[in-house]
C-alpha cells in the first residue's frame, strides 16, 4: 500500500510548527523572494527561520521540502542558485523545482539531493515525466490537476518516480505553470515573480448597498451581492460580461476549492505516494484544521477503517468544493 504521505503548507515558521504538530509527514515552504510561487507580502522564511524550522521538523521526524518552483527570467539565475545553495546548506530534504535550468543546477551541484517536480512544470504525460527523471534524477512528480484517477493509475505504471497529487485547496485554472492572466493585467508574472494577483494591485470596494467589488490593477473582476460568498481576486475566478451572454458569468472557473477527501482510498489504490495540501498563504488555523482532518483520514484508511472525514467546507473558497478532474473531465 502507498504510504499516503501528507505534504503540508507553511507560510511562516509558526505555521510550519503547527503543520508538524498536526501530523504532517513533510512541510513545504519557500524563501521571501521570487524563487517560489507564493511570494506574498509578509509570508515565507528567512534563511535563519528556515534553519530553525528544519531543526524543529527533523526533531519530530518530519521533512522539509523547499519550493524553488518559479522560472528565472532568462540570464537571471543567481537568485535561484543562491536559494538552492542556502537550502542545501540548511539541510532541507528535497527541492521542489519547475525550471529545467534550476533542476540541472541542483542535479549537478548536489547530486545526492532529492528533486521533486513541481506542479508548475505541468508534466502530465509519461514521456514528459520520464524526461525529467532521466535528465535531472527527479524522484517525485506533483501532477497537474487535470487527470482522472484511471489516468493517474496508468501513468504510475509508466514512470520511474513517485506521484504526488493535490488533495485540498485552491483549484486554479487547469494550466498550472502556463497561466499568464495576472501578467496580462499587472505586468507581474505568477510563474516568474511568484505571485498571482499581487496584493498591491488588489482592491476591495464595499458599496453602500452591502455589495462588494473586487478589482485587480483597476479592472473589476467580480461584484458579490450582499451575503454572497466570495472568492480570491484572481482573474481565473472572475465574473465577466461578454457579448454572447446577457448576465455576468464565470468565464474560466467558479470560486471553488478542491477537496478529494472522499477519493483518498482510490488515490492510494492507484499508487499515489503523497498527498499535497495547498495553502501556504493561509493561516495556522487553516493548517491545523486541514492537516489534522487529513491525518486522521489517511491513518484510518491505512489501518483498514472507514475514513473519518471532517467537514472542511467552511475553509473552502466561495464555500464550495469540487473533486475537479479527478472524478471526471466534465467537472464544470
Amino acid at each position: 500500500m502507498s504510504p499516503g504521505e501528507l505534504i503540508c503548507p507553511a507560510g511562516t515558521p509558526a505555521a510550519l510548527r503547527t503543520a508538524v504538530d498536526a501530523g504532517a509527514d513533510a512541510v513545504y515552504c519557500g524563501f521571501q523572494n521570487a524563487t517560489n510561487a507564493r511570494n506574498f507580502p509578509g509570508l515565507n522564511f528567512t534563511p535563519d527561520e528556515l534553519a530553525s524550522a528544519v531543526a524543529y521538523a527533523h526533531s519530530k521526524a518530519a521533512k522539509v521540502l523547499l519550493a524553488l518552483n518559479t522560472y528565472p527570467p532568462a540570464g537571471k539565475v543567481d537568485l535561484w542558485r543562491s536559494a538552492a545553495d542556502t537550502g542545501a546548506r540548511l539541510g532541507v530534504d528535497a527541492f521542489i523545482v519547475a525550471d529545467m535550468g534550476v533542476a540541472d543546477y541542483i542535479a549537478r551541484t548536489y547530486p545526492d539531493m532529492r528533486l521533486h517536480l513541481s506542479v508548475q512544470a505541468a508534466a502530465s504525460s509519461p514521456e514528459a515525466i520520464r524526461y525529467y527523471c532521466e535528465n535531472f534524477g527527479v524522484k517525485r512528480v506533483v501532477l497537474p490537476r487535470i487527470l482522472t484517477i484511471p489516468e493517474i493509475r496508468a501513468i504510475r505504471k509508466e514512470i520511474p518516480c513517485e506521484i504526488e497529487t493535490f488533495i485540498f485547496g485552491n483549484h486554479g485554472l487547469m494550466v498550472e505553470g502556463r497561466c499568464s492572466l495576472t501578467n496580462y493585467l499587472t505586468g507581474q508574472s505568477t510563474n516568474m515573480d511568484g505571485v498571482c494577483s499581487p496584493a498591491s494591485d488588489v482592491e476591495f470596494i464595499r458599496h453602500g448597498d452591502g455589495t462588494m467589488s473586487s478589482r485587480l490593477a483597476g479592472f473589476s473582476i467580480d461584484c458579490f451581492g450582499c451575503g454572497e460568498k466570495a472568492g480570491y481576486p484572481t482573474i481565473c475566478k472572475g465574473r465577466y460580461t461578454a457579448p454572447h451572454r446577457s448576465d455576468p458569468y464565470y468565464a474560466f472557473e467558479e470560486p471553488v476549492s478542491l477537496n478529494l477527501a472522499r477519493l483518498l482510498p482510490e488515490l492510494i489504490d492507484a499508487g499515489v505516494h503523497a498527498f499535497k495540501i495547498e495553502g501556504r498563504q493561509r493561516s495556522k488555523s487553516y493548517v491545523r484544521s486541514v492537516v489534522s482532518a487529513f491525518r486522521t483520514a489517511v491513518d484510518d484508511i491505512r489501518a483498514g477503517r472507514p475514513a473519518n472525514i471532517t467537514d472542511l467546507v467552511a475553509l473552502t473558497e466561495g464555500q464550495k468544493q469540487t473533486q475537479g478532474a479527478f472524478a471526471s473531465k466534465k467537472w464544470r
Binding site: A14, S283, L315
Partner: protein, 176 residues
C-alpha cells in the same frame, strides 16, 4: 420609558457621539499599555510588516462604540480608540465582529475563510492588510490572552466572559 427615548434623532446622535468619545478617553491608557507590551514581546511582527510599519490601520469591531486605530511603527507604536465619525486617516480598514477579529488575531479562525463567508470586510491598501495578517499569524500563542494577562485577573475575566457570550450567541444562531 428610557430617558434617551425622549431625544430627537439629532440629540440621540449627539449623546451617542459623546458616549463614544468618553469610552475612547477611558480605554486609551489601557490600549497603549497593552500594545506596547505585546510589541516588546513579539518584535518579529515588525520585520514581517516591512515598510508597512509606517501604515495606519483602522480596525472596526462593529459592536464596539468606537473604532481602533493602529500605527504599528515600533518607534512610535500607537493603538488608539477613536470615534467612528472622526476616525483619522488609515491606509487600510478591517471590519468585522469583535470576537471574529479577536479569533483572527489569535489564529483560531482563518482570515481567508472569514473573507469568503463575508464576515470580514477589508478595504484600502490590500498589501498592508495581507502583511499585518501574516505578521500576526506568525506569533505563537494567544495575543488576546496576553493582552488580557497584561491587565491581570480583571482582564482575563473580561476575556473569558466575552468568549462565553460569543460562543453561546453563535450556538443560538446555529440553532435558529
Amino acid at each position: 420609558m428610557h430617558w434617551r427615548a425622549n431625544l430627537d434623532p439629532k440629540g440621540a446622535k449627539f449623546v451617542r457621539g459623546a458616549g463614544s468619545r468618553l469610552s475612547c478617553v477611558l480605554i486609551q491608557p489601557l490600549l497603549s499599555y497593552v500594545v506596547r507590551r505585546i510589541g516588546d514581546r513579539h518584535p518579529s511582527v515588525f520585520a514581517r510588516l516591512g515598510s508597512y510599519k509606517q501604515s495606519a490601520f483602522l480596525i472596526d469591531a462593529v459592536e464596539l462604540p468606537f473604532a481602533l486605530h493602529l500605527c504599528p511603527d515600533p518607534k512610535a507604536l500607537a493603538f488608539r480608540a477613536v470615534p467612528r465619525d472622526r476616525a483619522p486617516h488609515a491606509e487600510a480598514r478591517i471590519r468585522g465582529r469583535f470576537m471574529l477579529l479577536l479569533e483572527l488575531v489569535d489564529s483560531e479562525r482563518d482570515g481567508d475563510a472569514a473573507f469568503f463567508s463575508r464576515d470580514l470586510d477589508v478595504s484600502g491598501d490590500t498589501e498592508a492588510v495581507v502583511r499585518l495578517r501574516n505578521a500576526l499569524d506568525d506569533v505563537e500563542g494567544s495575543i488576546a490572552e496576553e493582552a488580557a494577562g497584561v491587565l491581570g485577573a480583571p482582564g482575563r475575566a473580561i476575556l473569558a466572559r466575552l468568549r462565553r457570550a460569543y460562543k453561546s450567541e453563535a450556538k443560538g444562531g446555529q440553532q435558529a
